[in-house]
């Protein structure tokens, strides 16, 4: 059984704030969703170890990098706040 407090904690972990009415609604819905997905508990899995996938290098080989700065303006144009090409964020270390 999920409680309002559980959902509140999960929301905080998710960097989300839920209103009281939403919290109650989500808590009720979670119970029915979790009851449904809990049918996985009854699933019997074969005891044999699972097959390990083959590993390969998924990183792109750095051959010819694109010329520096060609995407800067496009990306900086999306910043909520900018100073030149820099992204403006809140100061988190105070100088006293």
């Amino acid at each position: 059984m999920a409680t309002v407090d559980d959902v509140k904690k999960l929301a905080a972990l998710s960097r989300i704030e839920l209103k009281d009415a939403q919290l109650q609604k989500f808590t009720n819905e979670f119970d029915s969703i979790l009851a449904y997905v809990s049918q996985l508990e009854s699933l019997e899995l074969p005891s044999a170890g699972s097959e390990k996938p083959q590993l390969r290098n998924v990183m792109r080989v750095e051959g010819e990098p694109h010329p520096s700065g060609i995407y800067t303006e496009k990306i900086a144009a999306q910043f909520p706040a900018r100073e030149g090409d820099a992204l403006v964020v809140k100061q988190i270390i105070k100088h006293e």
Partner: protein, 475 residues
């Protein structure tokens, strides 16, 4: 002669070459229909202005004898696929003003083929939903019956194609988001093998499940669009090379596997009857129907609703109001994140993020996420075993035809919409929905689809099976 916007890709390409119409006339037919009908249907979130240079270039290529069938063809793009310089919002307030800084690989390929883009289509926010009711910009209506949903999450793309507001469209499919809307609007919808089509430039939902694919008016169109967008891509390390999986030899007669135990009480009687009728016609055409057992399938939806939200909560963590997207400011940096996310995301997105956070949290990850992952592997081996005795596996795409707005307001009942389609995303196998007939609801005839799954990289088998069904519909 039908209006140009009503043509298939194949017929439009032919019309352009026999000079029945010019690229400009074809564009105008689609764009005019889109502007006329969009206020009612809400299929498009934005209809693009005419791109004279692209039209002129396409016309020249055709006159010079260009072989690309997509040259000069007006297509629609789901709003989670990036087209440089255009807004790509994933139908969310979070990205309402986000402009794509690059082209998705599929868009680059279509541009190279000479295709044109009519607009970006509505969807459930971040592709989460099965009805397009979860769009931050209002629901899309089903052109076959406007009191009903077009399905989702690629509902805007499906409605745009079905109402002839473009020639064909791209959607994305994480748990059925191409195939279910295709079934609800009478179209062909393909989810390719995981890794067949690059996800570079697709706004991520469930990264181990997502694939881009075509929504088209015919099977042949689906093949053309799929061939144009597929292929390995250095920008997506999960794309696969041709021939990674063993080749599938199909003889003229297909062996069609039917998991009877899965097509039980949950399926409407008339949908079952249409399905059985099509199977009978396929048998008469020389194909054989064989029974297959896929016992773990009954747990597939539960596994999906663990794995998918886990990936959603991870993928959507990047949307924090700092670098792009909706940005709200509080007293602290933490408040900036929380306010931006709380204001930017809609309810279904919030629900799935929280659910994902739960199934990944310490103490629950073994019971939920790891168990679901193991179920996924078991499902894959069951399907592989079944494919030793058959070429494709068939069932109805959905248990019922399109439902009315608000009919599935409880989240779990909406999730059950995906009961048949999610398995192909979990196993990574390709699957297609193709129209199999109509059923009556409140005096309206509504389309329903038959769904085929093939082994990995077995798209060709799907096109063969789907063409055979298509023949039964026109005969």
């Amino acid at each position: 002669m039908s209006r140009f916007n009503e043509l298939t890709i194949v017929r439009a390409a032919q019309a352009l070459r026999t000079k029945e119409c010019t690229v400009r006339e074809l564009w105008d037919a689609c764009a005019t229909a889109a502007r006329e009908k969009n206020p009612e249907l809400n299929a498009y979130l934005e209809i693009f202005d005419v791109d004279e240079a692209a039209i002129e270039a396409a016309q020249k290529r055709i006159e010079a004898g260009d072989a690309s069938l997509l040259c000069g063809i007006p297509l629609a793009l789901k709003d989670n696929i990036l087209l440089e310089g255009k807004v790509a919002s994933a139908a969310s307030k979070m990205l309402a003003n986000y402009r794509a800084t690059y082209d998705a690989t599929v868009v680059r390929k279509l541009k190279e083929a000479g295709a044109l883009f009519v607009g970006r289509t509505n969807m459930d926010e971040f592709a989460m939903g099965s009805s397009t009711e979860h769009s931050a910009f209002g629901p899309t209506k089903n052109p076959r019956d406007t009191s009903r949903v077009p399905g989702g999450s690629s509902g805007g793309s499906a409605a745009a194609v079905a109402a002839h507001l473009c020639i064909a469209a791209l959607g994305s499919d994480t748990g059925g988001s191409i195939r279910q809307p295709a079934a609800y609007t009478g179209l062909v919808g393909l989810k390719p093998t995981y890794g067949a089509v690059s996800r570079s430039g697709l706004i991520a939902m469930g990264s181990s499940l997502d694939q881009i694919g075509p929504l088209t008016k015919s099977v042949e169109d689906g093949r053309i669009l799929y061939e144009a967008i597929r292929g390995s891509d250095p920008l997506d390390s999960t794309t696969i090379a041709d021939g990674l999986y063993s080749a599938h030899v199909s003889s003229a007669a297909l062996r069609i596997g039917v998991p009877r135990e899965l097509i039980g009480d949950g399926v409407d009687e008339d949908v079952k009857a249409v399905f059985e009728g099509v199977l009978k016609k396929l048998e008469e055409a020389g194909h054989s129907i064989v029974d297959v057992a896929l016992p773990t399938s009954s747990h597939a939806l539960a596994a999906y609703y663990v794995i998918m939200p886990a990936e959603v909560s991870t993928n959507l963590a990047r949307l924090d109001g700092i670098r792009y997207g909706h940005a709200s400011r509080g007293d602290t940096l933490l408040a900036d994140y929380v306010q931006s996310r709380t204001e930017g995301f809609g309810e279904e997105t919030l629900r799935r993020i929280i659910l994902g956070t739960f199934v990944l949290s310490s103490g629950y990850i073994d019971a939920y996420y790891r168990k679901a992952d193991a179920a996924r592997e078991l499902l894959r081996s069951e399907y592989n075993a079944a494919f030793k005795n058959c070429d494709v596996i068939a069932f109805p795409t959905t248990p019922s035809p399109a439902f009315t707005f608000g009919a599935k307001s409880d989240p779990l009942s909406m999730y059950l919409e995906d009961v048949y389609t999610v398995t192909a995303n979990l196993t990574g196998m390709p699957a297609v929905s193709v129209p199999m007939g109509d059923v009556a609801r409140e005096g309206n005839m509504l389309p329903v689809g038959i769904h085929f799954t093939a082994p990995h990289q077995g798209e060709e088998l799907l096109f063969v099976a789907a063409s055979e069904v298509e023949k039964t519909q026109t005969a």
